[in-house]
Amino acid sequence: MRRIIWLVPLLLLFACRQEKPVVSFMVFGDPAEYAAYEALVAAFEAENTDIDISLTHIPSSKDYRTKLATDFAAGTPPDIALLNYRRVPGFAAAGQFEPLGPYLDRSDVIQRADFYPITLDSFTWQGEVVCIPQNISSLVVYYNRDLFAAAGIDEPGDDWTWDDFLAAAKALTLDKDGDGTTDQFGVGVEPSLYRIAPFVWQNGGRIVDDPTYPTQLGLTRLPSLQALQWFVDLQTVHGVAPNRLEEAAIDSETRFVQGTTAMYLNSRRGTPTYRESAAFDWDIAPLPRGQQAAGILHSDAYCLSAAAKNKDAAWRFIEFANSPTGQTIVARSGRTVPSLIAVAESEAFLDPAARPARSRVFLDTIPDLQMVPLISTWEEIESTASEEIERAFFGDITAEEAAILARDRTEEYFTLGVRP
C-alpha cells in the first residue's frame, strides 16, 4: 500500500504535464545535426510555454523513412516530420500530409516571397504547397585544404572543370609508403543516382526520359551515359576513389574526416559533423562543370501529418521553425542553407568565423539548381538504380550495362508511380 501512495504525486505530475498540447516532431541526422533541433525546440518552448514539443531522432535517413511509413500505417504518425522533397510524393500521394499552402497564406510571420522559389516548387503537390521548406542545400565538393597545400596544387576555383577535378584528384591520390596500396584518396563519393544526376545534367543529359512526365530512366542516352562513364572511371580507370574493399573497410566520409581523402562530395548536411570532428583546415567548392553548370537541389521541409490532433499548435511550431529566428538557430549549427532568402544572406549562414569559408558557393549556384522529378515511387527508383550504379562504380559491370539494368529494373516503379 505504501508503495502505491508513492505513485500518487507521480501520477499527478503526469496528469499536469498532459494538460499542455504535446506536438511530436521527428527528425533524422547525425548527432551534431540533432543538437540543432534540440536548440530549436528549446527556443520555441521558451517563447510558447503552452505547447510541449516531443522530439524524436532517427540517425539513418533510410530507417527514418521506414519508421515514418510504419507509423503512418499504424495510424500513429508524428505530428511533424522533417522530410526530403524526394520522399514527400510517396506520402503526399496517399494524402497523409495536411497541405500547408493555406496556412502559409494566412501567416503574419512568413510569406511565399520570403523563400527561394525552387524550394517551394519542390514541395508542391497537385498545385498546393504541402510542406514548408527548411533549406536549399545542394551537392558541393568538401576539400581538405591542408592536403591541397601539401600536394602543392591550387585550390578549386569557382569555375573549375571536370578535367581540373580529375587532375586534382590524381595529384591527391598517394601511396605514401610505396607498399602498393593507396594511403590517400583524391575523391570520396557515394555511387548513387542522386550523386551522378548533376553530372548527367552538366553533360546535357537527363536522368529520366521526360522531366515533366517521367516514364523511364534516361541514363542509356548518349550524353547521360557519357557522364555516368566519366563518373565510374574515377574509380575503375583512375583509381582516385576507394574500391569496394577499401570502401567497405573504411567508408569515404570517415576517410575524409580522418584526413586520408582529399575531396568528399556531400551536401550542407556534412558541415556540423566536419566542424566537430575534422582536425584540419577544410572548405567547400562548387561541383566542377561539364559542358554546362548544373547542381542538384537537396531540400528538406517540415510536413504536418493529416492525422495530427492539434494542427494549430503544430503549425505554430512549423511557423516558428521557418521564421527568421527559427531558421537562424538551425543555420548557426551549420546544418542548413536557409530557404529564407534573408537568413541565407545573413551572417548566421555566411559567418566568416565558421567553416566553410566559402559558404557563399551554396547561394551563388542556386540559379543552376535542378531537381529530381516528383513521383510517388522515386525512393524505389533511386535505390534500385543506385544498386546498379554502385556495381559499375566498383567494376562489376560496365557503365552501359548499369544504365540498361537500372532502366529495366525501375520500369515498373514508373508504371506504379503517382505524379503530381
Binding site: T66, L245, E246, A249
Partner: protein
C-alpha cells in the same frame, strides 16, 4: 495428488500460452487471411484471391531470397549443433570447465547488435584481425562481407559462435548419461572414440535431433538481425534472405498482402524442415515413445 499437480502446472503455463496465442498464433492466422488481400494499411483491403502468391512466386528476388535462406540454414545448423555437442563434451569435466562453459555461452549472451558490430570488425577486409591473421600465415584474404562470393561464408562463420543454448542442453543431457555405462564400456576395453560412438551418441541422439530442428527454425528467422546489420542483404543480394524480403515488402513498400504470402512461404519452409527431422527421428526409432518425443 498427481492430477492436482498437473493442473497447477497447466495453470502456471496459462499466461505464456495466452501470450503466445495472442502475440504469435493470432497474428499468424490473421496474416494468413491477409495473404489473400491487397492491403497497404492506408486504404481498405481488397480481396485478391491468389494474386499475392503468384506475385511472390514470380518475383525473382523472392526466389533468390529462398535460396539464400536455405544456404544460411542447411550448413550452419548441423555445424552449430555439432559444435555445441563437442563443446559440452569438453566442458563436462576437467579443471578449466567453468572457464570453458562461460566462454562458450558468452557469445549467446551478448546483444545481437553488439555481436554484429564485433563481427563487422573481425571481418573487415583490410583491417580486421581475421584477415591480418590469414595474411601473416600467407593465406588468401577474402573480402568477406564486401565480396559477393564470401559474404555468405562470412555470415555463417559469425553464426557458428551462437551455440550457447544448444550447449547447455547438451551439457545437461550428458550429465544424464549414467556414469556406470561409461565405466562398464571402459572395462570392456572401449576407448574414448568407442564410448562416444556407442554410449554417448545414442543417448544424446534425441536431444541432438531436437536441437537440430530448433536450430534450423531459429536460423530461418535469426539470420535477419545479422544480415541486416552486417550486409543489409548485399553485396548485390548475395545475402538477401526471406525475412528481409518480408520486412521490405511490408515496411518499405507497405505491401502487406505480398509480405503475408511470403511469410506463409517461410512457414512452409519451416514446416518442411521440421517434417524432415521428424521423419528421420521416426526412422531411427530413437529410444523414446512418440509422446515423449513430441514433448
Amino acid at each position: 495428488m498427481n492430477r492436482d499437480y498437473d493442473r497447477r502446472l497447466r495453470l502456471l503455463l496459462l499466461p505464456y500460452a495466452a501470450g503466445i496465442g495472442l502475440l504469435f498464433v493470432l497474428p499468424a492466422l490473421m496474416s494468413f487471411a491477409l495473404a489473400f488481400f491487397r492491403y497497404d494499411s492506408l486504404s481498405a483491403p481488397r480481396f485478391a484471391g491468389l494474386v499475392n502468391f503468384s506475385l511472390v512466386r514470380t518475383d525473382s528476388l523472392f526466389n533468390l531470397s529462398v535460396v539464400n535462406t536455405l544456404a544460411l540454414v542447411l550448413l550452419p545448423a548441423p555445424l552449430r549443433v555439432f559444435g555445441a555437442f563437442l563443446a559440452a563434451l569438453l566442458a563436462r569435466g576437467g579443471r578449466l570447465r567453468h572457464l570453458l562453459r562461460a566462454a562458450v555461452f558468452l557469445p549467446s549472451a551478448i546483444p545481437a547488435t553488439a555481436f554484429a558490430l564485433a563481427w563487422l570488425w573481425i571481418l573487415n577486409p583490410l583491417y580486421g584481425p581475421l584477415n591480418r591473421l590469414l595474411a601473416s600465415l600467407s593465406l588468401a584474404t577474402p573480402g568477406w562481407l564486401a565480396d559477393a562470393q564470401w559474404a555468405r561464408p562470412g555470415l555463417a562463420l559469425a553464426v557458428l559462435w551462437l551455440v550457447g543454448e544448444g550447449f547447455l542442453v547438451c551439457l545437461a543431457a550428458l550429465y544424464d548419461v549414467p556414469r556406470d555405462l561409461e565405466d562398464a564400456a571402459a572395462v570392456d576395453g572401449a576407448g574414448a572414440w568407442a564410448i562416444l560412438r556407442h554410449v554417448l551418441l545414442p543417448f544424446l541422439a534425441p536431444v541432438i535431433l531436437l536441437l537440430m530442428a530448433r536450430d534450423a527454425v531459429l536460423l530461418l528467422q535469426e539470420s535477419f538481425t545479422l544480415t541486416w546489420l552486417l550486409t543489409g542483404g548485399g553485396p548485390y543480394y548475395a545475402t538477401y534472405t526471406l525475412p528481409q524480403f518480408i520486412y521490405e515488402a511490408a515496411f518499405d513498400r507497405l505491401d502487406f498482402g505480398m509480405a503475408s504470402a511470403a511469410l506463409w512461404a517461410l512457414y512452409a519452409v519451416t514446416g518442411l524442415i521440421l517434417a524432415l527431422v521428424y521423419t528421420i527421428a521416426r526412422q531411427w526409432q530413437i529410444g523414446m515413445s512418440e509422446e515423449e518425443f513430441l514433448l
